[in-house]
Symmetry: C3
Amino acid sequence: MAPAARTFSSEAGNSKLVITEVDDKTGYATVTLNRPPVNSLNLELLKAISQTLDDLQNNKSRGMILTSSSNTVFSAGLDIMEMYKPNQDRLRDFWSTLQDVWFKLYGSPFPTAAAINGHAPAGGCLLSLCCEYRVMCPNYTIGLNETQLGIVAPTWFQASLRNTISRRESELALTLGKMYTTDEALKVGMIDEVAESKEKALEQATNFLNRFRKISPMARAMTKQALRSKDIVELEDNRSQDIDLFVYAVNQPAVQKGLEVYLESLKKKAQK
Amino acid sequence: MAPAARTFSSEAGNSKLVITEVDDKTGYATVTLNRPPVNSLNLELLKAISQTLDDLQNNKSRGMILTSSSNTVFSAGLDIMEMYKPNQDRLRDFWSTLQDVWFKLYGSPFPTAAAINGHAPAGGCLLSLCCEYRVMCPNYTIGLNETQLGIVAPTWFQASLRNTISRRESELALTLGKMYTTDEALKVGMIDEVAESKEKALEQATNFLNRFRKISPMARAMTKQALRSKDIVELEDNRSQDIDLFVYAVNQPAVQKGLEVYLESLKKKAQK
Amino acid sequence: MAPAARTFSSEAGNSKLVITEVDDKTGYATVTLNRPPVNSLNLELLKAISQTLDDLQNNKSRGMILTSSSNTVFSAGLDIMEMYKPNQDRLRDFWSTLQDVWFKLYGSPFPTAAAINGHAPAGGCLLSLCCEYRVMCPNYTIGLNETQLGIVAPTWFQASLRNTISRRESELALTLGKMYTTDEALKVGMIDEVAESKEKALEQATNFLNRFRKISPMARAMTKQALRSKDIVELEDNRSQDIDLFVYAVNQPAVQKGLEVYLESLKKKAQK
């Protein structure tokens, strides 16, 4: 029996990039990232996620599950095309919008769970870490692998990881840029449960949200806010410097050269 | 063979609310909460605990074990009658005294252990978390379950929990308001040992205190102070705002209504 | 087959106190503490370590392994003779140099591992905790056992421990001044691996360093810096007060008396 559901899309004018379905019985929203093939986070997708989070908060959502329309990738992380030979204004807007998404997702008053039905490197991992619970399908990988790409996960990426796994494991994970298999991620606590399929993952994420059904949403939201506020205030106090730093780093000739080499290697792969 | 012991009570004029027995051989004080039926923490009990902690510190105590005279409840937490239709001056005094107890117990120079011989929800859990070691009897429950009651555990309650269990488990525990069984509490580290009986719990708590017998009390106290001082300074810097916030919250009509409903449900239960 | 290696010593004029061998293939430096019999950390040894760390950083080292020339002791910690009836200027220099070593080792841009081939109490434990990875031979002991000696591990010693093991275990470890066996240390995460022999320990430490071979050294260094910077800034902001506090404590008559008693007990042991 299919549950009663309303489907709507973000009002950001990017109607297909994020699909939101609200179950009328539970009030939970399933938010599906839908930018084929791998949900690369470009400015438009980030704007659509940001708008979706606003919509949910304005509608006093009872809970959200974040998942992907791809069969193999949850999200491949930041779209490299936003950083290669960038328009400077758009570059600033891009990073500022990522900050917005982090503020709204990591600090959301409603409960959040990720149904990770594919690989989740870098920015994809970050989105899942901002949620309060993670269910992941087998045989994928997840991690903040920025150093593997020659870049640095900002302190607020690090904060979300340290909110999830031990400080010791965080240091190894971040310096090594380690990608964890589903089983490894479960062992260190980067995910909470394994699910056989996307359907099962959505079901188990729903079970997590259900645990809050008898909890006062206000008391819950204030408790979460108290727990996560230090991380949030740290970025709020540092927002424009954080953008400056990102823009400065991206514009370094060595970084541009690195992106060029990487993009050419992707093209060659595609031609084979 | 019964150990030599001196018994005295708090000098706060509430002689029966807290019973303190000092073992003359070891110098350890067993402090028994004694406000039947469930050691609800009202102003008088909190004042008696606060005075007891002063007495122990002034007597350069070698160690303290906190336990309950009840067979089933360690402490039921804050007394709701202090918050329902409150006298405003008494309400401020009540919260300020709870802060005092937290400062003195969480920051005590002498070693502390809780022999948790019954359920320990909310404020009862908090008292045990302020100690340095927790031994608990089987088949009881423990937790900071404030959100289950529609309220919020203040940041200093949260700090004591985060000093004990992982940051990840703390977030789940606090947002869910989860009550852990003895076995669950052991697994996540909220307690250190299980004890078959109250007698065994006192014995095992004593064994913990004995581990400090050859340690310089001064070096020990300074080390503990260094570890816990950030939490303590945070409340010290914020003490009156914390009282204001509590008083404001309690006086909200919705909270008063909630308390009324809860108290009536208790009356009905009692009449059955 | 012996690996190609250059051997050099610190240029601090203490050529034998620290032996540095750089493997020309890997670029890794093996730094061997060499102040028999137990690598007590006196001013000269600390200066030699500090100079060695400068040399490695100036040579853009790809990695460092810290080990001991002794068969039974990694390092016995601070040399008590530096604190007994001290010259006041030398005492300040001694503590300031220990701070230098901590800044340079805990904050090193290059990856670091300790091959702990012997006991590692107090300051010996600290040096290993400053590294990013610890491999330890069986049947030794390790720990910040300052309270056992009647003294207090400074907050920056505590910070390095808390970067490694859980906050809960840190409190027990530090207040009890607990020495962990190799197996116990592995269990709580104070070390990462056990190695059968010193040779194996060096090999396993090398394997850890190898995990960074394909990682951008710059991205790695910035990531480590971001993770450890709060601890480092805290001591930087407090450096001279920390020296004052140490000097004050050492000059207390009770501390001097304690050192005297301890030194006489060592003499008697030696005479047996």
